[in-house]
């Protein structure tokens, strides 16, 4: 068993040990093409590591928590995060580590290297898929190279790889990761070349940037682009780039820097050089007998091929495939910073203005015709914001993931979601709203007279402090009736709010500081201690971005909810007019228009009815333990309150276990009353999980069929450490 093979010693018989990338490099070398000095850490090294540490079965257990087909993308991301943490926390056994370390040190001594994945499986098909696994550039020294090889091993189980698991034949038993360690050629010009244009078979493409090609590959730096004729190898066209930045090596990695003016004025390649690059790529194509996608760099007028693989694109036959979109959510720090600015400075203020503007319009004075138009206008406004939500707000949530990985890499904590504690002392709008609810409940608690009055006639003294505060709450957050009824009965009345307050008031006030601030401070300190002074500023920036991302994760829905509430209010007004008409309380007017617009928007007249399990069949199925994802640590037992429709929220009682399909941010006001949260939708960063963590509640997400398997009144135990929901007391 050889843990390491130099490129010059790799032959076809090693294919299953070195993967496509390493094999291609060895073939290029053999055919006389210049490549950087290259070592391959074989799949045997990976196999020895996962066998000796017991990781192989740990990964299998993670992957078999539930059926893949039932996992949302967020759960797959969580799964990949947990597996990555397993790798980070499991050191490479000493004999393997010391063999690898000394091989790296003696081969590269102090030289910078690139550490790249070279995935392998039984038939070698995985080799040609780009972007599923990690690569690192500008790594120096045996120990650091080893650390990055470890990270590349972990990336065999990246979320992207898990999403494309069928195409690449990913399996715990068979798959392994080889790693290419390659001297870093600090090229003056770099790029990629396709010997066959994916869009036009008679053409080839060369793309080039100044400096290293990481910026091009990651889409951060715009390249100059040449289209060539495959047969004559003549240039057909050149599309120059704006040439603002380049990627340069820094202490540990590479970073984007402004391109000096004099450099930016020239394309990275002269015409002749474009042809030289293309010729070298064609040489690779002739050698491999198939069109190639190559990465190259030029230093001191020598063209190096860094890698070569067959031209392929990841496409699924399933027309409904959203995986490309999911993967596009992976954003760079720079990209997220720009997005943050736009969201905080432009989009959120515009949303607030929009909701305010709409709320000022008195719907009752509109003619039927105008009301119909208003419904349609509001539908369009809401639709526009929903689109913005998907295109801008959801991708921004990736800031949390970026920090999660950053934190886990640096701290290697036992709990791979510990990083959330550093984010959770932000002031989310929903938490502020709940604090206001708590204040109102406190007034009722301390005023028996008021409490009795509310329970009796429900009348509130208009001038009382309580009423003033209730009205302030309604002004800021609405009366909760829309939330409680799912928009089907926006009463514009105080009853739903008062009912919730009365329920809250029958129990002692909730500790507001359940979020362990002290612990957060300690974690933060420990996190920053991992970095030297120069790196600390970057760590602080990533944390700051993640905090904004985390806060927005909930706030955006509240703001979106305000706009939706305005649409619902108009729909409600239209419905009232139609019902008045039925009862002959008003003349027909343009009522037809209203009916038409409601039908066009297909807004349900009544909440959907949910089928509930029937019992009484001779064979009865009952859940006992259902496994989901641990999303908030802690354990709690209580009576289940299953939310089939928003009206069920009105029945929510202190100490109930909230069981729902998905916690809608507009219904999180019941969370402080809950003992735990169980959600069908999976993921660590969904609203239910975030709000539960904020209140220190045990939370399990991703429970398949949660709202049909569990019934209101069932005794339920929620284990937020293991992600298990146990139904019933266990009596036989």
């Amino acid at each position: 068993m050889r843990l390491v093979l130099p490129a010059s010693e790799i032959s076809h018989r090693h294919r299953r040990k070195v993967g496509g990338k390493a094999l291609a490099l060895s073939r290029l070398l053999e055919s006389g093409i210049t490549i950087p000095d290259t070592l391959c850490v074989t799949g045997d090294a990976y196999q020895a590591y996962v066998s000796q540490t017991g990781l192989r079965e740990r990964i299998a257990l993670e992957l078999h928590r539930k059926e893949f087909s039932q996992m949302r993308w967020e759960e797959i991301w969580d799964c990949a995060t947990r597996i990555r943490s397993l790798f980070l926390r499991k050191p490479i056994p000493l004999p393997i580590a010391s063999d690898l370390r000394s091989a790296f040190s003696s081969r590269f001594s102090g030289k910078a290297v690139a550490v790249r994945s070279s995935a392998l499986d039984e038939d070698g098909s995985a080799a040609s898929f780009a972007g599923l696994h990690e690569s690192f550039v500008n790594i120096r020294g045996g120990e650091s190279i080893l650390k990055h090889v470890h990270l590349v091993w972990a990336s065999l189980w990246s979320d992207a790889a898990l999403l494309y698991r069928q195409e690449i034949g990913l399996s715990v038993e068979k798959s392994a990761m080889a790693v290419v360690v390659q001297e870093l050629i600090a090229g003056e010009r770099s790029g990629v070349a396709f010997t066959r244009n994916p869009n036009a078979a008679s053409q080839g493409v060369v793309e080039s940037v100044h400096g290293l090609n990481q910026g091009l590959v990651d889409g951060i730096v715009e390249p100059d682009r040449w289209i060539l004729d495959r047969r004559t190898r003549e240039i057909i066209s050149h599309t120059p780039a704006q040439r603002k930045y380049w990627m340069v090596p820094d202490k540990d990695g590479v970073h984007k820097a402004p391109l000096p003016l004099e450099v930016s004025q020239h394309p990275p390649l002269k015409q002749k050089e474009v042809q030289t690059v293309f010729d070298t790529a064609m040489q690779a194509e002739e050698f491999f007998g198939a069109p190639q996608d190559v990465e190259w760099t030029v230093r001191d007028d020598v063209t190096y091929l860094l890698q070569s693989r067959a031209v392929t694109t990841l496409q699924s036959e399933d027309g409904d495939d959203n995986r490309g979109w999911y993967l596009s959510l992976h954003r760079s720090f720079d990209n997220l910073k720009v997005l943050r600015h736009r969201i905080e400075k432009e989009l959120i203020p515009a949303m607030i203005r929009e909701a305010d503007r709409l709320s000022k319009l008195d719907l009752s004075v509109l003619s039927d015709q105008d009301l119909a138009e208003e419904v349609k206008r509001r539908w369009e406004i809401n639709h526009k914001w929903v689109n913005i939500y998907w295109e801008e707000f959801i991708p921004f949530a990736h800031g949390i993931r970026l920090f999660g990985q950053y934190y886990n890499d640096a701290v290697q904590p036992d709990d791979s979601y510990e990083f959330i504690d550093l984010l959770s002392d932000t002031q989310m709008v929903s938490v502020k709203r709940n604090q206001m609810l708590e204040e109102l409940a406190d007034i009722i608690r301390n005023d028996i007279g008021l409490s009795e009055k509310l329970r009796g006639s429900g009348q509130i003294d208009e001038t009382s402090v309580f009423n003033i505060k209730v009205e302030r709450f309604i002004r800021e957050y609405g009366d909760l009736s829309c939330s409680v009824t799912g928009g089907t009965q926006c009463l514009h009345a105080k009853e739903p709010l008062v009912n919730i307050l009365l329920e809250m008031a029958t129990h002692p006030s909730l500790p507001t500081a359940r979020r362990r601030l002290q612990r957060t401070a300690k974690l933060k300190e420990a996190f920053f201690r991992r970095f030297d002074e120069a790196q600390r500023a970057q760590a602080a920036d990533v944390l700051d971005l993640a905090r904004a991302s985390y806060q927005l994760r909930d706030d955006d829905n509240i703001y979106l909810g305000r706009i939706e509430a305005q649409l619902l209010a108009a729909i409600q007004a239209a419905r009232h007019r139609l019902s008045d008409l039925k009862q002959e309380k008003r003349p027909a007017g343009d009522a037809r228009i209203l009916a038409d617009i409601l039908a066009e928007l297909d807004h349900p007249d009544s909440p959907k009815t949910i089928e509930v399990n029937s019992t009484g069949h001779p064979l009865e199925i009952k859940p006992r333990q259902i496994v989901g994802q641990p999303a908030g640590p802690g354990i709690a037992r209580g009576s289940a309150r299953v939310i089939h429709e928003h009206l069920d929220l009105a029945e929510f009682q202190h100490g109930d276990i909230l069981v729902c399909d998905a916690v809608d941010p507009n219904m999180t006001f019941v969370v402080p009353l809950a003992a735990a949260v169980v959600e069908r939708r999976g993921g660590m960063l969904i609203h239910g999980a975030i709000i539960a963590r904020e209140y220190g509640l045990p939370c399990v997400t991703g429970i398949p069929d949660a709202t049909t398997l569990v019934r209101t009144g069932d005794e339920v135990t929620v284990d937020g450490y293991l992600g298990i929901v146990t139904v019933g007391s266990g009596e036989i």
């Binding site: 299998a60 064979l619 009865e620 859940p623 006992r624 333990q625 259902i626 496994v627």
Partner: protein, 150 residues
């Protein structure tokens, strides 16, 4: 119903894939586990095994008919942890006598042809367990219950 069918099918598949099960009996507060060759009825209402009447397990059953049986597909491999399934069965056990033995013995011997002499020995009892419930464990920690009502 789809869920019921799915659970029932998985229990049926698991029970028919295994030849041996762990039987738990008890007497005077002392639990006692033993290995038995078993077979279940097609409708999952009954489980059968054969035991010499001189055994502890048989004496325990005579004293306390409530028993439990564990069937599992583990192979003593690391991969068992994510792959193996187990079902815990509870019910009441009683010896089957006379002509009622014929059907179950035939089914039992189809599963365990090598046990013919054992099954037909006059010193052995055919024990029928009237199953109350199955507790199916999959994916390491997922547990679903199948209860059989009268």
């Amino acid at each position: 119903m789809a869920e019921t069918d799915d659970i029932r099918r998985q229990i049926t598949d698991l029970c028919s894939s295994q030849k041996l099960a762990v039987l738990c009996t008890h007497r005077e507060s002392q639990p006692y586990a033993s290995l038995v060759a078993f077979v279940t009825s097609k409708d999952l209402r009954y489980l059968y095994f054969i035991t010499p009447k001189t055994t502890r397990k048989f004496k325990n059953i005579e004293a306390n008919p409530q028993i439990s049986v564990l069937v599992n597909s583990s192979e003593n491999l690391e991969s068992d942890f994510h792959r193996a399934m187990a079902v815990t069965i509870i019910g009441n056990a009683a010896e089957v006598l006379g002509r009622n033995r014929e059907g179950p013995i035939k089914r039992y011997l189809e599963m365990h042809p090598y046990l013919e002499d054992f099954a037909k020995s006059p010193t052995c009892a055919l024990v029928q367990v009237k199953v109350k419930s199955y507790f199916l464990v999959r994916n390491f920690q997922n547990v679903m219950e199948l209860h059989i009502h009268e």
